[in-house]
């Protein structure tokens, strides 16, 4: 009996030991497995989430990209100062591509293979982003808030790309409608000879076509070039009432100056990524600029109050502008998505989280995503550079 009992006791003890061992093993396995799962997710560590941005941080287009980065940085700093996202700090690494598609591709390759970032963020430019697309798709890495409104990132639908700004076609609609509405039907177009310029040109032509019009002339200029003599000659000869400049910054000052020197009084209009804020003061008069975010000096909007507060908290000399506001909005969208993705984020989880943001109110400003729609905003407003210092009015 006692033996039996002893046996039973022994068996019970053995069973207990075996259960305990199994439980311990399970816990150890779980403990090993959990960080392993996190360690397998690129860019996620127990204390940080790594994201990468390639943008022109040098060269003529650097101003707008730097301002975008500053706005995003201030938003990330704010959330990091309050403990980060589920205990992890957002760490953003930057690489300069000087608005050169080849460098963007190299930067992306480094982000994905060497740095092993969790997501890509705020890529600047159309041709540059386009050059990185094959790598992004191969690595199945989400790209949040590329600062381009080109159709090629929207059509065909790409499940990895989430945009927080309106398309160039929507910007062209606003610019063309304004010119035609106020009697400037004779419109000349100067566009950049690459995928960005062609996309914007198509948008402008489509907007004119909807009004039963055609551009009176279209002239191409090369990317990063300020050789504009021939373009100005052709535009001036066509005697336009309005001129759409659909290029990045480098040729714009020369185009405006030479057109005015030729006596043209045509209304000059350009797009949100033109970096018009960097124009020399003598040229910053009566230039129409479409914008894809609200007016950053209007504190009546909740989002703008938050943005201004973030800028003031982190910058010694706070200045507000459209590009940093776009960066701030993009960062806020990413922060919300990461929070929703939970304590163990994955790239697939981030995509799912963004798609579930059906109507995110950032403070009188909404972003709307879904499984079939990765374009969060179609907000466009027209501004003009006017006044003593060539400030934006709206």
């Amino acid at each position: 009996m006692s033996h039996r009992n002893g046996n039973r006791d022994t068996r019970t003890r053995a069973d207990r030991t075996s259960h305990l061992t199994a439980a311990c093993l399970s816990l150890i396995t779980l403990a090993i497995k959990l960080p392993a799962a996190q360690a397998n997710e690129p860019g996620i560590s127990p204390r940080s989430i790594l994201i990468g941005q390639s943008a022109p941080l040098s060269g003529a287009s650097s101003g707008i990209a730097m301002r975008f980065r500053r706005g995003a940085h201030d938003a990330f700093n704010e959330v990091n100062a309050h403990g980060g996202i589920h205990g992890r700090q957002i760490v953003m690494i930057y690489r300069d591509d000087a608005y050169n598609p080849g460098k963007t591709r190299t930067n992306t390759d480094r982000f994905l293979t060497r740095d092993k970032v969790f997501a890509l963020f705020g890529y600047w430019g159309t041709a540059t982003t386009q050059s990185a697309l094959p790598l992004i798709e191969k690595a199945n890495t989400p790209l949040i808030a590329p600062t381009t409104g080109a159709q090629l990132l929207r059509k065909p639908f790409n499940k990895l790309i989430f945009s927080v700004r309106a398309s160039y076609h929507e910007e062209m609609e606003v610019l063309v409608n304004h010119l035609v509405r106020f009697g400037k039907n004779a419109i000349a177009i100067v566009y950049q000879n690459d995928s960005f310029g062609m996309d914007a040109l198509e948008g402008a032509k489509a907007a004119l076509q909807r009004l039963g019009l055609k551009p009176i002339t279209t002239v191409a200029v090369e990317r990063n070039s300020s050789d504009t003599d021939e373009a100005v000659r052709q535009v001036a000869l066509s005697k336009p009432k309005g001129v759409l400049i659909l290029t990045a910054y480098p040729p714009i000052p020369s185009l405006i100056r030479k057109l005015r020197q030729r006596g043209s009084s045509a209304q000059i209009m350009t797009h949100s990524n033109s970096n018009a804020q960097n124009l020399p003061p003598d040229l910053r008069h009566s230039i129409g600029v479409s914008q894809v975010v609200p007016y950053p000096w209007n504190p009546r909007i909740d989002l703008i109050r938050d943005y201004q507060s973030a800028i003031r908290n982190h910058d010694k000399q706070p200045t507000y502008d459209f590009a940093s506001l776009e960066g701030y909005i993009a960062a806020r969208a990413l922060i919300q998505a990461l929070e929703k993705a939970g304590p163990n984020p994955t790239r697939a989880g981030l995509i799912k989280s963004l798609e579930s943001m059906r109507e995110v109110d950032l403070g009188d400003y909404k972003l709307k995503f879904s499984e079939n729609n990765h374009n969060g905003s179609n907000f466009v407003q027209l501004t003009f550079l006017m006044g003593e210092k060539g400030s934006f009015i709206h």
Binding site: N177, H178, R181, F182, H285, S286, Q381, L382, T383, F384, M386, G387, E388, K389, S391, I393, H394
Partner: protein, 253 residues
């Protein structure tokens, strides 16, 4: 004529008058024995001082009028900009652009023209474009727009401010160009000649004459300078017309 050349010419005329009166006094003294009491200079001098004071008060009055007119114009620009905020964004941006365009044209183009007492064609074109906009349906509120305290009287106010702007410009332009009152010029010239002649007649001696001439030349043309300033305070730098407009452009209309 540029402001600096006018003042130089003025001093040249007064120098000639001084030399002429000195020559005449010498000729009179050589031809006849005259004994004019020096106490006669006092009422003559007083008359000259009163004339100067009268002209000075007129200049100050004129300056104040001009300053008031410019301030009124700036206030009207601000008010017109403010009422435009009730318009939908697509209409508002064009209205504000035209308003800025007009203001900038005053500060850059018309301020220069006004130094010559002239109006400016570019500024005229800018205000015409603004008036065309205000007269068009683009400056009206859409019928679907909700009524708010600011939009309730929009049409009447926009119309009033539009006309006030035209009035303010005309007032500013008229105050900057008063013309040259020839009779007043002659009166000052004759009075100065009489005063210097009297001074040379009652005083003798080399050093007395040198100092008398110096003092007369230094102080005598002042009333005439006042008259110049009265005719156009902007041209003579007494009133910087551009600064109120530049200030409003820097702030925001």
């Amino acid at each position: 004529m540029p402001a600096n050349s006018s003042v130089t010419l003025l001093y040249a005329i007064f120098f000639i008058l001084t030399v002429a009166s000195f020559g005449l006094a010498k000729w009179i003294k050589n031809r006849s024995e005259i004994a004019i009491q020096s106490s006669l200079l006092s009422p003559m001098g007083s008359l000259y001082i009163f004339t100067t004071a009268f002209l000075l008060s007129n200049v100050i009055f004129q300056m104040n009028n001009l300053r008031t007119a410019v301030t009124q114009e700036v206030v009207t620009l601000n008010k017109l900009g403010a009422v435009m905020f009730v318009l939908p964004p697509e209409q508002r941006i064009e209205g504000r652009r035209l308003l800025y365009d007009y203001t900038q044209s005053i500060a850059e183009d018309e301020a220069e023209s006004m130094k010559r007492g002239e109006r400016n064609d570019t500024t005229q074109a800018a205000i015409d474009r603004l008036r065309d906009f205000l007269a068009s349906p683009e400056a009206a509120l859409p019928s679907s727009a909700p009524t708010t305290p600011e939009s309730a009287n929009y049409l009447r106010k926009a119309s009033d401010f539009g006309f006030d702007l035209v009035d303010a410009r005309e007032r500013r332009l008229s105050l900057s160009s008063q013309g040259n009152p020839l009779r007043l010029w002659l009166a000052i010239g004759v009075m100065y000649f009489a005063l210097t002649l009297l001074a040379y007649l009652v005083h003798n001696g080399k050093w007395t004459t040198i100092w008398l001439t110096t003092i007369l030349l230094m102080s005598a043309p002042i009333p005439a300078v006042m008259l110049f300033i009265y005719s156009n305070p902007i041209a003579y730098g007494l009133f910087d017309m551009t600064s109120p407009f530049r200030a409003v452009l820097a702030r925001s209309i």
